[in-house]
Amino acid sequence: MSTAVETTAVRSTAVGRLVRIELKLMVREPLTLIFVFVFPVVTMLIIGGSFGTTPTVAFDWVNPSQWYVASYLTVVIAATGLIMVPVHLASYRERGVLRRFAAAGFPRWSFALAEVVTGLVAIIVGSVALLAVAAPVYGLPSAHHLVRVALGFGLGSVAFVAIGVLLGTVLPSARSAQAVGMVLFFPSFLLGSGGPPPHVMGTALRTIASYLPLTRVTDAVRDPWLGTGTATGSLLVVGGLAVAATLLAARCSSFRSVSR
């Protein structure tokens, strides 16, 4: 029989193997590649080039191309949290992969941890790719409050990955996760990040947009980045969302990780 120390060591290496293999599988998944790595870049190139480079009132008097570059990081966050993570998790549960992992001695929490790590890595890689393409085309705006931008981006990423784990845990199948994910993703994308600026929206749309979690994340990243505001309120909302979603996801996934 192993000692407690040995058991912990064995488990942590098993969890490490699980995280590594999940990262590998992530880049073999076409849905992930398209939505997280390709879709944000392509739409950013199209929308970012549609309104010219002259600052206007609609874009808070900043260069529209740069306004979109600063907005689009959160498209990567939404694609990861609303599509990639839930579809992946629901398909694993549906097909008994989680049961097999659990029966093989991987701790119940290890798969949720692997999903969080994979989701955060996907967001970082997708964001770096986005900025790498944007830089030579539209130029990167310099950040006015770098720490606030980093906080908004980090907390927003955690919040959406946790929402993804939650969705993937409660939705019964990969198919339903994909349907629900798309229904949540596109309005969030159009109203809360990559679509028209809030100033040109009608009152009704602007009201809806203001309630979308992604709008708050976008504000918390874009305003301090472009110097159009500090977005303290949005940052606090995103922080609260990150904590609440993480607690809820941890609670749900520890109960349902093994059941079919």
Binding site: R11, R17, L25, A103
Partner: protein, 317 residues
């Protein structure tokens, strides 16, 4: 609990909603034993082994597996049990070699070779045939040399050749002294592979014993038949009826059928040899476990028809 028991289950009870699936089940598996849990679909076999592995919480009863309680020590226990679960898959794009490394931390070329998967080690799980998938699951169950292996319907959907190769692997495990709990509704499989079988129905143990014991207890008689020749007349028939284990001797148009226990087959043979004549059409038939279990289920149906819960019979989870 005896020192050598690897699994001890007492009075296990489990319901799904209002449906009682396991109803006061007892089970022991001793070290080095290959035990078959046999029964029809819906008998509660899979639920029982899921409780043993700590994958489901029982509603009642006590369980002890490798000295641990599957409820409170589930994480530790699962690391010690190699298991082939029913309806549990792997990620489509995971490759065979990657799966083995994920489960064990090392590549295990020997096992892959033994199960004919070495050539496929770079293939994705989704591209494997049904037989290859089952063999991969078996490799994953065995790769860490666990002190207890649980195999649930492991030859389901395999072609006869693949089935034989899996059986040969299990026989090797038996020779190596591994402890195996085999869940199956294929009775020929249980007869071939198990030291002891536990027959369950509607969540209860009907009986247990070696396959031969169950056959003796519940199977129809063994029979020896042959045709009399002109030189060997009817006078030998009364002698056959007096042999140990013989229960009945019939003769019809020169064709003789002797029924009795398994031992009677040997005594009839000896008697014929002693008489200096072995009939050219001599045939002996010993009932199989399948014959015995069918009869067991039939008896059970008669004796407990009042207690029957119809939705449990043949129901799948």
């Amino acid at each position: 609990m005896s020192e050598i028991d690897v699994v001890t289950v007492r009075g296990l009870v489990k319901s799904y909603g209002r449906r009682l699936v396991v109803d006061g089940l007892d089970l022991e598996v001793a070290r080095g034993e290959v035990v078959g849990l046999i029964g029809a679909n819906g008998a509660g076999k899979t639920t029982t082994v899921e409780c043993i592995q700590g994958l489901r919480r029982p509603d009642g009863g006590s369980l002890r597996v490798l000295g641990l309680d599957p409820m409170t020590d589930a994480d530790r226990l699962r690391g010690l049990v190699g298991s082939q679960l029913q309806s549990a898959g792997l990620p489509d794009r995971l490759r065979v070699g990657e799966a083995v490394r994920l489960f064990s931390g090392r590549g295990s070329e020997e096992l892959l070779e033994q199960f004919g998967l070495l050539e496929r080690r770079r293939s994705a799980f989704a591209s494997l045939s049904g037989g290859e998938r089952q063999r991969l699951f078996l490799v994953l169950a065995l790769v860490n040399r666990p002190p207890l292996v649980i195999l649930d319907e492991l030859t389901q959907g395999l072609d006869p050749a693949a089935r034989r190769s899996v059986w040969a692997a299990i026989e090797q495990l038996r020779t190596d002294g591994m402890t195996v709990l085999l869940v199956t509704h294929e009775l020929d499989e249980a007869e071939q592979l198990c030291d002891r079988v536990v027959a369950i129905r509607a969540g209860r143990v009907l009986d247990s014993g070696t396959p031969a014991e169950l056959v003796d207890r519940y199977g129809r008689s063994a029979t020896v038949s042959f045709t009399l020749s002109v030189d060997h007349s009817l006078e030998m028939l009364p002698r056959l009826g007096l042999l140990p284990g013989v229960s009945d001797v019939r003769e019809q148009a020169g064709k003789v059928t002797v029924s009795g226990t398994r031992a009677a087959v040997a005594h009839v043979g000896a008697e014929l040899v002693a008489a200096g004549w072995v009939p050219p059409d001599l045939a002996a038939r010993v009932p199989s476990l399948e014959d015995a279990l069918l009869s067991l289920l039939e008896r059970d149906r008669d004796s407990m028809s009042d207690l029957e819960e119809p939705e449990l019979i043949g129901a799948t989870r």
